[in-house]
Symmetry: none
Subunit: 214 residues, 4 copies
Amino acid sequence: MPRAVRERMMMDAAVRTFGRRGYRAASMDDIAEVAGVSKPLVYLYLNSKEELFIACIRREAAALLEAVTAGVQPGVSADLQLRSGLGAFFAHTTEHPDGWSVLHRQARTHGEPFAREAAKVRDELVAFVTQLIGAAAREADTGRGAGPGGGAPADRELAGLAQALVGAAESLAGWAIETPGVSAKEAAATLMNFSWMGLGRLMDGERWPATARR
Amino acid sequence: MPRAVRERMMMDAAVRTFGRRGYRAASMDDIAEVAGVSKPLVYLYLNSKEELFIACIRREAAALLEAVTAGVQPGVSADLQLRSGLGAFFAHTTEHPDGWSVLHRQARTHGEPFAREAAKVRDELVAFVTQLIGAAAREADTGRGAGPGGGAPADRELAGLAQALVGAAESLAGWAIETPGVSAKEAAATLMNFSWMGLGRLMDGERWPATARR
Amino acid sequence: MPRAVRERMMMDAAVRTFGRRGYRAASMDDIAEVAGVSKPLVYLYLNSKEELFIACIRREAAALLEAVTAGVQPGVSADLQLRSGLGAFFAHTTEHPDGWSVLHRQARTHGEPFAREAAKVRDELVAFVTQLIGAAAREADTGRGAGPGGGAPADRELAGLAQALVGAAESLAGWAIETPGVSAKEAAATLMNFSWMGLGRLMDGERWPATARR
Amino acid sequence: MPRAVRERMMMDAAVRTFGRRGYRAASMDDIAEVAGVSKPLVYLYLNSKEELFIACIRREAAALLEAVTAGVQPGVSADLQLRSGLGAFFAHTTEHPDGWSVLHRQARTHGEPFAREAAKVRDELVAFVTQLIGAAAREADTGRGAGPGGGAPADRELAGLAQALVGAAESLAGWAIETPGVSAKEAAATLMNFSWMGLGRLMDGERWPATARR
DNA sequence: GATGAATGAGGGTTCATTCAT
DNA sequence: AATGAATGAACCCTCATTCAT
């Protein structure tokens, strides 16, 4: 069996085992057994538990990022871009719960080197959202003229908003995975309503997409 | 030295060690040393590493819940109640980062028994939020009559919204802890804007509290 | 059983096992078993295989050095001092063959850190011999006046001579240990004859102590 | 590439690796890599690590023995024969430090089978020296008549003297290898002075070759 | 009430060795 | 003739846990 194939089997086994049992609780014996190979082979190909874990994190990070990137509809309004990105995000996390666990939970709980790696993806997602709502805000701002009160959110505020949105998405990803019957689509719809309309307007019965101010 | 006091010192040491090093990486030796007692004493009082961890989770859960409960202003409008609860939440997590790490990260990453315990608190917070916005929605609904489109969110939708809000709060808690210069107050304000106004209205320069429809 | 006693038992077991099987071939399990304790206890007291080995080297080095130092008769002529030192040296090595193996063979064959440690003792012995024959040479030199040819050995030559003498002693130590019936005393006598008289004079039937030039 | 050539490359690599890293620390992977061939080929040609090591020892032993044998000037007096043999010995060890390490250090530190093999060469060298000084002694003895005191050394004493001389040579070989600036020639001269003249006469300023009693 | 002393069990890692091709 | 692929066995080390005092 060629090396590349075996290597992927091992990483699959590792992601699955790390994701379910946790980084420390997963033994290299476990992983080798799940992969259907001997332990020395895992070491031959992937060097050490740490490197294997890092490799898993990177692979899952790349996969998630690519899924989201591929899902975002380019050239449309900010809310539509967000909506499409969220759809891809929830579709991916729902379909790869172990990978999501590695990325979102395990990598962030077992020490700096791993956390740093996981932070990279998250930071990219946060940056994407920040840029998205930043652009939308500036656009709205110019179309409005300097009115009283508020104005476009400052950079610092944007950062916080993006953190909030990403956190909400992470939470809903777990909700969709754990709650039977909740689809990726529903999660995306829920989050669009929540984030774009806000509870205030939701109370009034409005839903996204609104009768469209834009 | 009375037992109760010794016990609290041990739990303090445990929360600190678990929170910083992680459940698996923290050894009973470490904890005993940080607590300033001998290891057998830890076992005498707290039986096993698992029980000790569970005890930590429960204690921190109770503390957080009490802080939030005490912080919520009773008898005011939903948004004000939320605002006061968030303020208390961020104040507590910011002041007890190790406890928050135990609760939010460690407990949820190291297997079922612990995750279940941590899920309890989270579920309570989610339930609180659900009930809050549910009440607000019903109230708004009756004052409006059956108009076209939408209406009050269904229970299932409320659950999702609450998940989103709690996730956003968790994310901002981490943001406030890790980012120097971000205060609990700022986190709360950011989240109020995000959740109550929604990005849509924020883009238009509005901020919470709005010129107030209510 | 008090810690100090256990610790000595472990080091005895370690010296014996390292000395007979070699550093790498001796497993910590072996050593623990020979010592009659569990493996973790060995680690508790002595930290690691490397540290244990270093500790063995140091202990055996100190023992050998003390034996020789205690054996050298002070204040007598150089040849008598050498003879007494050699007696003590061979007596010690013959009685502690495992310690001698650790010091002379194992420590010098398994990497820099250990070799450096072993080199210390050897260097001290070489220095002792160098100083001994150096003093004797200077003494003989002054009593002679500048005659033709030769003169007292230069420093560089002294160093080589000391190396040769110590090497001869090491060789005879192994010879005495391995050859049944060869006593420490005989080894010492042989080496005195060889080193002090030289083969040239031995051929002529002379033996040490000579009819005494000094 | 013919088998014989490949085989020599492997043994060169093995001697180098064993000599520098030590028998246990040298892995078959290392050796194969240094040799520039695949590991199974090493096994195909040399069967096992043990056999490979034995083969190395034998080869280096033969090389050393041949160098010394070729170096000894035949038909001259004993001291001149010794001197020529020592010259060859130091020249060879100085030029082949890895082989010397294998022979003198590694082979003797890693268990019986190897030590036995190394003992063979050493015994041959010892035997050569024994026979050399034995012949010289008998010769001197007959030319002297039974005088008082001593007489020619007994066989047992000769054995010890040879051990001492060989040990001194081994020590000086290491000294010459490790000390920059010390040549094989100097080592040989030092040892001739030490062994043939003895410290006693050296102290008096004499050097070898003496003004010659013979 | 408190601890010094001790261990069973298991995890990460390496290595000599062998097939199938 | 030569090798890429694979593994059984062992080794160093750590840790949760328990006695005897």
